[in-house]
């Protein structure tokens, strides 16, 4: 077994492909993200009170829970977005493919190329549609125009936006509708080809039709990416996710297959929340 892994890795190096994906195929490393005893403080306020959880690759995992339960904070630990928050302090270890992402040698910029993020409000740059999607590539110093064009097209197609914008790639991204803007933000994230996509309530600012489009998209993306989505919408969680984690007051109350959570949750609090009795 161990020998096999070694061989796979060597092959991976030879072929110059992503080593991490080769490892991930092995069952021992099945967890894409492995968080252990995570505690987070903002100044004196304890936002996360010791959470341990593993996220499986190529799944959609939904984080649900009432406002202020720590689900967004927890999500933002994975790409270290909390680093910029004043008074942020953390304990515990988060491993991505076996490497501690809060380790001293970790380059945050490299980590974020691997773990993309889509935010609550669509936040395109005040640049053209093309420039928005190409941004991630350009900051990596890629100058090959053919390569960039191909990636931009691919990403826009993946985000199901290509047909709507292919004739107006030079138009300002701000002229798009809210739903289009959010799909543009997804395309922008995909263009860098991350392996994990974090989504922080990506549809909360959108109308039902745009929401449905994004949900379809998430379903398609699951094949290639690991997706973690924070949502306030219970139906959304049950529709699109494979696993659901229920957070309450900084603790992980229950984490199981989505079906289980929504049909026979083992904790009373979870049941109360999903049936709408509080939250």
């Amino acid at each position: 077994m161990a020998k096999e892994i070694k061989v796979t890795m060597e092959k991976a190096i030879e072929k110059n492909i992503n080593i991490s994906s080769a490892i991930a195929e092995d069952e021992n490393h099945a967890a894409r993200i492995d968080a252990k005893d995570i505690k987070v403080w903002y100044e004196d306020f304890m936002a996360i009170k010791g959470i341990t959880m593993k996220i499986k690759p190529n799944t959609v995992t939904a984080f649900i829970g009432p406002s202020g339960c720590g689900k967004s904070t927890f999500l933002r630990l994975f790409n270290r977005m909390n680093d910029y928050v004043d008074g942020f302090k953390m304990e515990g270890k988060i491993k991505l493919q076996g490497n501690n992402i809060y380790g001293k040698k970790v380059l945050v910029e490299e980590l974020r190329k691997e773990i993309g993020m889509v935010f609550q409000k669509p936040n395109p740059f005040p640049k053209s549609i093309f420039e928005n999607v190409a941004y991630g590539l350009k900051i990596q110093g890629i100058k090959d125009k053919k390569f960039i064009n191909a990636r931009v097209e691919k990403a826009l197609k993946q985000a199901d936006l290509w047909d709507e914008v292919k004739d107006n790639l030079k138009k300002s991204a701000l002229a798009l509708s809210g739903g289009q803007q959010q799909r543009l933000c997804i395309a922008r994230t995909l263009a860098v080809e991350p392996s994990i996509i974090l989504m922080d309530e990506p549809t909360s600012a959108l109308d039902p039709i745009s929401t449905a489009k994004i949900e379809d998209l998430i379903f398609e993306l699951k094949e290639k990416y690991t997706i973690i989505i924070v949502t306030h919408n219970m139906q959304q969680a049950s529709r699109i996710s494979d696993y659901t984690a229920f957070f309450y007051l900084g603790e992980l109350i229950e984490y199981d297959k989505t079906k289980t959570i929504f049909t026979k949750p083992s904790k009373k609090q979870t049941e109360n929340y999903i049936t709408g009795r509080f939250g």
Partner: protein
């Protein structure tokens, strides 16, 4: 009773606004009338094309170009100093500095703008010029270089403070999007934040230029009083403002042509600053990014 009180307050507020507008129009009309009389004696073509400005001499020439070149030269030097320094400060304060540092340093910088300009003028004449003369031996005692540099220092806060406001107004979501893609702070600052704030930054630069063009004391003290059509920064020049001071303080007779030259010079200055302010107003209105 209450109604009467409301009425009186409302009308008095209105009248103070009207008085301000009336005074402004009064100033402009005096300027216009006197300038009109000037141009009835001196052809506007001569005024705009003659390369000499010698209204106080016997051989009189009324070409505004020497005064204009003095004004533009000192302003250009000032902007060359203030723009890089001011922009660097604003980017540092907005993107890198800790909150507490930003809160202390910003008012301190704005203090630069509250130093009386006569102090700056003396600083230019007594400190900067002798210092520069050690580097450039040919530098005259009065020159546009040291006046321009000191004026640049004076207008730094115009650029740093207003640009910082514009940078700071760029939504956090924009920075997060950039960081989330794996961009460094520097990349985020220059590729996202600065372009997003560009209209505000341009407005700050225009206002700073406008301030430099209208600045009087520093150039009157340190740049000299010799109208000269040149772009050599080492020789004495005279700016429009400095000329107006010179004549206002002198003993020219009211109503004479010499006296009216200051209105002609004044209206030229007014046209420039008015155009710049209008331009900045237009840019602010048209290109202000709407983030919602």
């Amino acid at each position: 009773m209450r109604k009467i009180k409301e009425f009186v307050i409302e009308k008095s507020l209105l009248s103070s606004a009207l008085i301000t507008i009336a005074v402004t129009f009064g100033i402009i009309s005096v300027l216009a009338v006197e300038a009109f009389q000037f141009f009835s004696e001196v052809s506007i073509v001569d005024f705009l094309t003659d390369s000499q400005w010698t209204p106080l001499f016997t051989d009189k020439h009324y070409g505004i170009l020497p005064l204009l070149s003095g004004t533009l030269l000192t302003s250009f030097i000032a902007i060359s100093v203030a723009l890089p320094v001011g922009l660097s400060i604003s980017i540092y304060l907005s993107e890198y500095a800790p909150k507490s540092f930003r809160k202390t340093i910003k008012p301190l910088l704005e203090l630069l703008a509250s130093i009386p300009t006569v102090v700056y003028g003396f600083f230019a004449l007594i400190v900067v010029t002798p210092f520069l003369q050690q580097i450039i031996p040919d530098l005259s005692g009065f020159n546009s270089l040291s006046a321009g540099i000191v004026m640049g220092i004076m207008i730094i806060p115009f650029i740093s403070s207003l640009s910082e406001d514009a940078l700071h107004a760029v939504p956090k979501a924009m920075r997060e999007a950039s960081y989330g893609m794996g961009a460094t702070k520097l990349q985020t600052a220059f590729k996202v934040v600065v372009p997003a704030a560009s209209s505000g930054i341009i407005v700050s630069i225009i206002l700073a230029i406008s301030r430099a063009i209208g600045e009087t004391m520093i150039v009157a003290i340190a740049a000299g009083q010799q109208p000269r059509l040149t772009f050599d920064p080492t020789v004495p020049v005279e700016t429009i403002t400095a000329y107006i001071v010179q004549v206002s303080l002198g003993d020219v007779q009211h109503g004479s042509i010499e006296y009216r030259t200051i209105f002609a010079a004044g209206i030229t200055l007014f046209v420039f600053t008015f155009l710049l302010n209008t331009l900045s107003f237009y840019i602010r209105k048209k290109y202000r990014q709407k983030y919602e």
